[in-house]
Amino acid sequence: MQAFIIRRLLAGVVILFFLSIAVFLVLRVAPGDPALLRLGPQATAEQVAAERERLGLNDPLVVQYSRWMKGILTGDLGVSNFSGESVARSIRNRLPNTLELLIMTLVLTTVIGITAGVISAVWRDTPLDYAVRVVAVLGLSVPALWLATLVLLVPLQVWGYAPPIGRVVHFFDDPWGNLRQFLPAAVVLALGPAAAIMRLTRSSLLEVLRQDYIRTARAKGLGERLVIARHALRNAMIPPLTVLALQFSALLGGSVIIEQIFTLPGIGQYFFQAIFVKDFTVVQTLTLYTGVVVVLTILALDIAYAWLDPRIRYR
C-alpha cells in the first residue's frame, strides 16, 4: 500500500511537470502581447517596452520558466501580471467561495441524485419512476446559463427579490444571507450532475437487486426495506460515488459560468479573467494548483477503493 502511494505520488509529480510545461508554452504561443492587453492599443511603444520588461517577458523562455518554478517550489506563487496582487492571496480569498459552492453542490447532487435514484429503482416502471426519470432527463437538457438567468430574474420580476449580489456574505457572519447567496447557484449547478447520479444509482441498484445474495436475503424473510437499506444500497453506491468524486474536478471549471452570473468571486472566475487578459502568472499557477488538487483527489479515491473493496490489489 505504501509503495503504491509513493509510486502514484511520483507519477503525479511527473504529470504536474508536464502540465506545467504545457501550460507555460501554450500561453506563450498564444497570440496577443500581455503588455499590450494590459495597456490597450493606444499605449506608446515605450510604455509597452517598459511593461514587457517589468513582466520579464523579454527573458529567454528557460529563464522565465525556471523563475516561475523556483517561486512555486519555494512556496511563492507569484503576483498577477495584471493587478500585481499576490496569487496566493487571491486564492486564499477566492477558494472558500469556490469550496462552499462545490460542497453545497455536491451535497445537493448526492442527496437529490441518490434519493431520486433509489425511489426510481424501488418503484421501477411505475408512474413515479417515469416522472423521476423525465425530470432527470430534463435536468440534463437545460443549459445552466439559461436556468441561472431565470433563477436570478424571475423572482426579481415577480417579487422584486434578489439574492445578495456583489459582495460575499460569509457564513459565520450571516448564515442566512450566505445561504441566500450560495444556494440558488448551487441548485443550478447541481441539477445536471444530480440527474446523472440519479440515473447511475437507479441502474446500479437495479443491477444489485438482481444478484443472488439479495434473493437469499429476501428468501430468509427480511423485509423489503431492510433488504434495500442493509444489503443492496451499500454495494450499489460504489459507481455513483466514483462519479461524484470525479465531478469535483469537473465542477472546479464548470463553475465559471455560475460564479460569473451569481457574482461569487471564486477560482473559476479568477481563471477565466486571467485567461482573458493573458495573465501568465495566474493562469500558470492556477493550472498547476488545480492539477495538484485533482491528482490528490484521484489518489484519495484509489485509496478509498482499497478500503471499500478488499478485492482491489495494488501492484
Binding site: G32, Q42, E46, S80, G84, S90, L152, Y161, G166
Partner: protein, 563 residues
C-alpha cells in the same frame, strides 16, 4: 439653495489677455485674481441639480457596480476600474471639464495663473489635510512639494499613463515655495491643463510615493474618502475622510455619506438584479428599450453621461485600395448612419463626426455632418469605386474583436449585420475576420489589416481623434493603428495644439481641422453612438453626475442619500 452652493466652486481660469491687463494695473495683480476670475465672454449658465433636493442628510453608504475588474490602486499606473476612484481619494490640482470647457474645478490649486502661453502657476490651497491612516503618513497639509513629487514620478515612471505628456511637454516644474507650484511646457499646448486634471494625475502625499509596492494596494490622500477594504475580485470600499476640507450645506465637512462600496458585478443580469433590489444605486441600461421598460419616475431618475466608447470603421491607408481617396469616400458614402441609430440604438443615439457627440462644443454641428460629411449615397459610392478602377465593387477583409459579450463593453455583434448590409449597398463586400482581443490589438497595432471595426481608444478631449488623422497617431510615435499621412492635416493639428489662450479659439480651430480632415477623405469613420443612460435610485440626492461635467464630476462629493 443648491444652485448657489454649486456657484461657490465656480472659478474661472484667468485668461492670458485678462492677466496682461491685470499686470498692467501694476503690483498686487495677484490680489485681483479673485475679481478677475472671469473671462471676457459671459459665462455659461451654472449647471445645477434639476430637482429641489431638500435639506442634506448625513450617513449611509453608496453602492456602485462595476463590470470591469480592478487592477491596482497605484494612482499613476492603474488602467482599470480603480482609476475612477482616485478622484475620490486624492486631489487634483485643477480639473477642466471637457464637456463644459468653461468649468474648472479648483481643488489642490486654489487659483491658477497663466502669465504666458507656456507657464502655469498653481497657488496651493491651505488646509487640505491627509486623511487618518495606518500607513504612517502624517495628517499634515498637502503643499507644493507634493505636487512636485507626484509630477516628478509621472515623468520618470514609463508606465504612468500621463508620462507621455510629462515627457513631451513638461519642460520645467518646481515648488517655488510651500504654496506655489509652477509648470512650464516646452511649447504652448492646448491640453496641458486637461492632462493636469486627469484622474490619472492626482496628487498623493509624497511619503507614499517612496514605496510603490505599498501604493499598489493602498494609499491615502486629501480627497473626500480614503481606501478601505480592497479585495481582488470582489471590490473596493472607500471610507469617509473626516479631515476633508470642503464643507457641506450644513456647515459640516463633506462628504455626507459614510462611505462607498464598489462591487465587481461582471454579469448584466446580476447588475440589473442588484439595482432593482436596491443593492446598488445606479445601472447603465443597454438600450432605449430596456430604459423604457425599467423607467419608473417614482423610483429612478435618468442621467445621460458621456460615453467614450464607440465603434468606428477603420481603413488602412497604407494598403490598396484604401490608399485611394475615392475608395475611402465610397466607403463613407456607403454607410447609412441613420440605420445604425434606428436599428442598433433603437433611435436613441447621435451621429458622430471625427470628434464624438459627447464633446458637444468641439464636435461639428449635427446639421453639417448630416448635410455634408455623413451622406449616405450608394449610387455615388459605386461611381467612385468605378472611377477608382473597381467597376464591380470591392471585397475587403474586416477584423474585429469577437468577444464583446463577456466584457460588457460595446456589442460588436449588433453592429456587424448592419454594417454588412449598408456597405453592400455601395458595392463593398465584407469578409469578416473575428479575432480574439489579444490578437486583435496585436494586429491593428502592427497595422496588419485592411479594414477594422474598432472599439476606439477612449478619449476625452478632441486631441485624440485629431491625432488619429496625423502621421504620428494617437500614441504619438507613429505606431498607432490610426495613421493618416497628409502634411496639411499634420500642420493643422499642430496648430490646434498650440492654442492655449481661449477656449473659443480652440473650439473653432478644432472644428476647422475636422472640416479639413473631411476634405481629405479620412480613414476613420466613427459610427453613431448613444450616451450612457444611467438610471439612479432617486434616494441619491444632489448627484454631481447630473451636472454634465464628464469625468470631472468624480471629484465632487456633494451627494447625499435620502434613505
Amino acid at each position: 439653495m443648491a444652485s448657489e452652493y454649486w456657484q461657490r466652486f465656480w472659478r474661472r481660469r484667468l485668461g492670458r489677455r485678462a492677466f496682461l491687463r491685470a499686470t498692467a494695473l501694476g503690483a498686487g495683480a495677484t490680489a485681483l485674481v479673485g475679481a478677475l476670475a472671469c473671462r471676457e465672454e459671459s459665462p455659461q449658465a451654472t449647471p445645477a441639480p434639476q430637482a429641489e433636493e431638500g435639506p442634506p442628510k448625513r450617513g449611509g453608504r453608496s453602492r456602485y457596480a462595476t463590470f470591469a475588474t480592478f487592477d491596482q490602486l497605484d494612482l499613476h499606473v492603474s488602467v482599470a476600474t480603480a482609476a475612477s476612484y482616485f478622484p475620490r481619494v486624492y486631489n487634483t490640482l485643477v480639473s477642466q471639464s471637457q464637456q463644459k470647457p468653461d468649468f474648472f474645478y479648483y481643488d489642490l490649486a486654489e487659483t491658477l495663473e497663466q502669465p504666458d502661453a507656456v507657464t502655469y502657476i498653481f497657488r496651493i490651497r491651505p488646509g487640505i489635510r491627509v486623511a487618518p491612516n495606518g500607513l504612517g503618513v502624517p495628517e499634515r497639509e498637502l503643499d507644493a512639494q507634493d505636487a512636485y513629487a507626484n509630477w516628478e514620478r509621472i515623468k520618470n515612471e514609463p508606465r504612468a499613463l500621463v508620462s507621455r505628456f510629462a515627457k513631451q511637454f513638461l519642460a520645467f516644474h518646481a515648488a517655488q515655495d510651500a504654496r506655489t507650484y509652477v509648470m512650464r511646457t516646452t511649447e504652448p499646448y492646448a491640453w496641458a491643463l486637461y492632462n493636469v486634471g486627469l484622474m490619472y494625475s492626482t496628487i498623493a502625499p509624497r511619503e507614499l510615493l517612496t514605496n510603490p509596492d505599498r501604493l499598489r494596494t493602498s494609499g491615502v490622500g486629501g480627497g473626500p474618502f480614503s481606501f478601505g477594504r480592497f479585495v481582488e475580485g470582489e471590490g473596493l470600499s472607500l471610507e469617509r475622510n473626516p479631515n476633508y476640507y470642503r464643507k457641506g450645506q450644513d456647515g459640516q465637512p463633506l462628504p455626507y455619506v459614510d462611505g462607498i462600496d464598489v462591487l465587481y458585478i461582471p454579469d448584466r443580469a446580476a447588475r440589473l438584479a442588484g439595482f432593482q433590489s436596491r443593492q446598488i444605486e445606479s445601472y447603465t441600461v443597454a438600450n432605449k428599450r430596456e430604459l423604457d421598460e425599467l423607467m419608473d419616475p417614482g423610483k429612478y431618475y435618468l442621467v445621460k453621461e458621456p460615453y467614450f466608447n464607440f465603434m468606428s470603421v477603420i481603413m488602412n491607408v497604407d494598403r490598396p485600395p484604401f490608399n485611394d481617396g475615392r475608395v475611402r469616400r465610397a466607403v463613407a458614402r456607403s454607410i447609412n448612419h441613420q440605420q445604425f441609430i434606428n436599428v442598433v440604438h433603437l433611435g436613441d443615439a447621435q451621429l458622430n463626426g471625427i470628434v464624438h457627440h459627447d464633446l458637444p462644443d468641439f464636435a461639428l454641428p449635427e446639421d453639417e455632418l448630416k448635410g455634408r460629411y455623413l451622406v449616405y449615397n450608394p449610387q455615388e459610392a459605386r461611381q467612385l469605386l468605378a472611377a477608382a478602377g473597381y467597376p464591380g465593387g470591392i471585397k475587403t477583409k474586416m477584423v474585429y474583436p469577437a468577444e464583446s459579450g463577456a466584457t460588457g463593453g460595446g456589442d460588436v455583434a449588433q453592429y456587424v449585420p448592419v454594417l454588412i448590409e449598408t456597405l453592400r449597398s455601395g458595392g463593398i463586400e465584407l469578409e469578416l475576420e473575428p479575432l480574439d482581443i489579444g490578437r486583435y490589438i496585436d494586429r491593428v497595432r502592427r497595422r496588419d489589416y485592411d479594414t477594422a471595426l474598432s472599439l476606439n481608444p477612449q478619449y476625452e478631449t478632441p486631441e485624440g481623434p485629431l491625432d488619429w488623422h496625423t502621421s504620428w497617431g494617437y500614441a504619438g510615435d507613429g505606431l498607432s493603428f490610426h495613421i493618416f499621412r497628409d502634411p496639411e492635416v499634420d500642420a493643422a493639428v499642430r496648430r490646434v495644439k498650440r492654442i492655449t489662450q481661449s477656449v473659443q479659439e480652440l473650439v473653432q480651430a478644432v472644428r476647422d481641422a475636422q472640416r479639413l480632415i473631411y476634405s481629405k477623405d479620412p480613414s476613420v469613420i466613427p459610427l453613431p453612438s448613444s450616451s450612457s443612460n444611467n438610471l439612479w435610485w432617486n434616494f441619491v440626492r444632489n448627484n454631481p453626475a447630473r451636472l454634465g461635467l464628464g469625468r470631472t464630476y468624480l471629484f465632487l462629493a456633494e451627494w447625499w442619500l435620502d434613505l
